[in-house]
Symmetry: C2
Subunit: 344 residues, 2 copies
């Protein structure tokens, strides 16, 4: 899907509310207070009454103004623009309530509709609690799969979403994600690595503006298997995928021992690292950029970023939640929106 | 084994040569040039002729003096003390030669003998190439296992060596080490975690001088298994080990999601982290301290450190090898030697 924003309108970020009992409302209010850092206005899809109540409860001086997408840019400098939903989102912070699931889901659907309709330039999602949504019959395994389903054309297949973790110093993609460690070796196939590498290559060019993206792939095993002495998959599964990608003209290298791929000098050698499983990807980026790492979903027909943390029900409503990761997600969405506009 | 250095003698570090065709000789010569940073004199167990030849070849102004352990402290300020072996160690840099295996092995044996005999305070080992030693009949799986075998009393069982990676900011221990990723879940047992935790606790107190060591354990699975939703081992294997350790009075906590355990704020919560497998432990420390990470072997009856890199045959003899990790290993050995002396 090509973006077709009005030519005269700048980027506008569509922000979903996430679980209204989590820290989403609080960090969204705090992000508006630091709006000068973001580089684009944003519109929250939520219940204005809930946002106002949270601002009052937390003592945050954030005027909340109900408006629609066409008005949001004008509102943004003086108030937080909130587009009302048809469902209420009243929730007590820290007390997740399945009754709020319809508003949480509608918020995501509306954000996607705005971007697909050209009224917004990117989707930024606040954290949801899957268990809360499951209780109200939500049929998708998670947030990203739901976005993929919303992206499918009528009757068409859902796209293959790819999770990237991004900070200024490092972009890293786990090829397998939320599977038990025991299941990783069998879940990791040459086909999956190649499919992931193609999407990463395409979007590093198209969205991140890297003309010739350099991909570095980790090995699955310690020391990348030491030529087969410590596990066979690096020779049998990972190396053939790298060969396939290279034959397609993609600058993919590896498999490299994962432990020595993430220090500052090593990072100079690639634009994005593909790691074979969750912790191999997330340990390095969260070690160097815990509060600044952003989750970017590649493979969707629109830009989607999100903060790299959960609903944090345990601290919701106490005023201590840090908006840094959401601000980083908003900043990156603004940057990618501007790049998309230039490329259009 | 208690250390029984002469009371009037300060620490002396016994440095094995490692593979004479690797970067060991070069980084040892360079470490002597930066001897003011180390905090203790060291004695190299090697062939003085080979060390002299390498200094000349590399243009390093390092006088090499043949001497024994009793003379090394006096020699150290003006020349690199080298205690000759009975085997020659002549080798062309970058060309590993099984004919040098006897000298490589003798160097390690001699370093251990000096420490066990009270003539030196710690063993610092340069990198070896296991394949080169195997070709000459070396029966041990690796360097550390050889040191454990040398530590066994006559007829007694070898101790259980535990690898720790250490830098100023982080100490981390992989519970399983050089096994394929596929084998990790079955290799990881409650008994192994408990045995490792006991050794780590004991040596953090005895060698590192931490009065009440705080141990943080990672989970095996992503998000530490999310209460069993993403892998069963964290509940079935890791958590019971933590319970066992706590019942023994050891301050062990976890299992924690590994990705959020290694950023600077999280590191304030523990003195040493136990990770469940190789990359989970080595990714964070090599990401933050690639050139400064030191390998420390716990569980031996003496102090042993080593640089955290290999023989690097590909760059040997070119003068570009960095001695930073060896210097860090020497510094830590000196520090642990002084602590042991104070405790004696």
């Amino acid at each position: 899907m090509a973006l077709h924003l009005n030519d005269d309108a700048g980027p506008l970020l569509a922000v979903s509310q996430g679980d209204p009992a989590g820290i989403g409302p609080e960090i969204t209010l705090k992000a508006w207070l630091r709006r000068d850092e973001i580089g684009a206005p944003f519109l929250v899809l939520s219940d204005p009454a809930h946002m106002k109540a949270q601002a009052a409860r937390l003592g945050l001086r954030v005027p909340v103004q109900s408006c629609d997408a066409s008005e949001a840019r004008a509102v943004f400098s003086t108030a937080l623009p909130v587009a009302p939903l048809s469902h209420e989102a009243t929730a007590e912070p820290g007390r997740p309530d399945p009754a709020t699931a319809p508003s949480t889901i509608e918020s995501i659907e509306t954000a996607v509709a705005l971007v697909r309709g050209g009224q917004a330039s990117a989707v930024v999602t606040n954290p949801i609690a899957k268990q809360v949504l499951y209780q109200s019959g939500f049929p998708h395994p998670g947030h990203t799969e739901f976005l993929a389903a919303l992206s499918a054309g009528p009757g068409g297949p859902a796209p293959h979403p790819v999770m990237m973790l991004w900070c200024e110093e490092l972009a890293v993609v786990p090829v397998t994600v939320h599977v038990p460690l025991r299941s990783v070796p069998d879940a990791l196939t040459t086909e999956l690595i190649v499919a992931t590498g193609r999407i990463v290559h395409r979007e590093m060019k198209a969205r991140f503006g890297v003309a010739a993206p350099r991909l570095a792939l980790t090995g699955l095993n310690p020391h990348a298997g030491e030529s087969g002495a410590m596990g066979t998959e690096d020779l049998a599964v990972v190396a053939p995928a790298i060969g396939d990608l290279r034959r397609e003209g993609i600058d993919a290298k590896g498999p490299f021992p994962a432990d020595t791929l993430f220090h500052p000098a090593a990072r100079q050698g690639y634009d994005v690292a593909l790691a074979m499983y969750h912790d191999q990807a997330l340990i390095p980026i969260k070690t160097i950029a815990f509060d600044r790492a952003v989750n970017v979903t590649l493979g969707l027909p629109f830009i989607r970023t999100s903060p790299d943390h959960g609903t944090a029900f345990d601290i919701a409503g106490r005023g201590v939640a840090r908006p840094d990761s959401l601000i980083a997600a908003l900043r990156l969405a603004a940057r990618l929106s501007r790049a998309a506009k230039r490329a259009a």
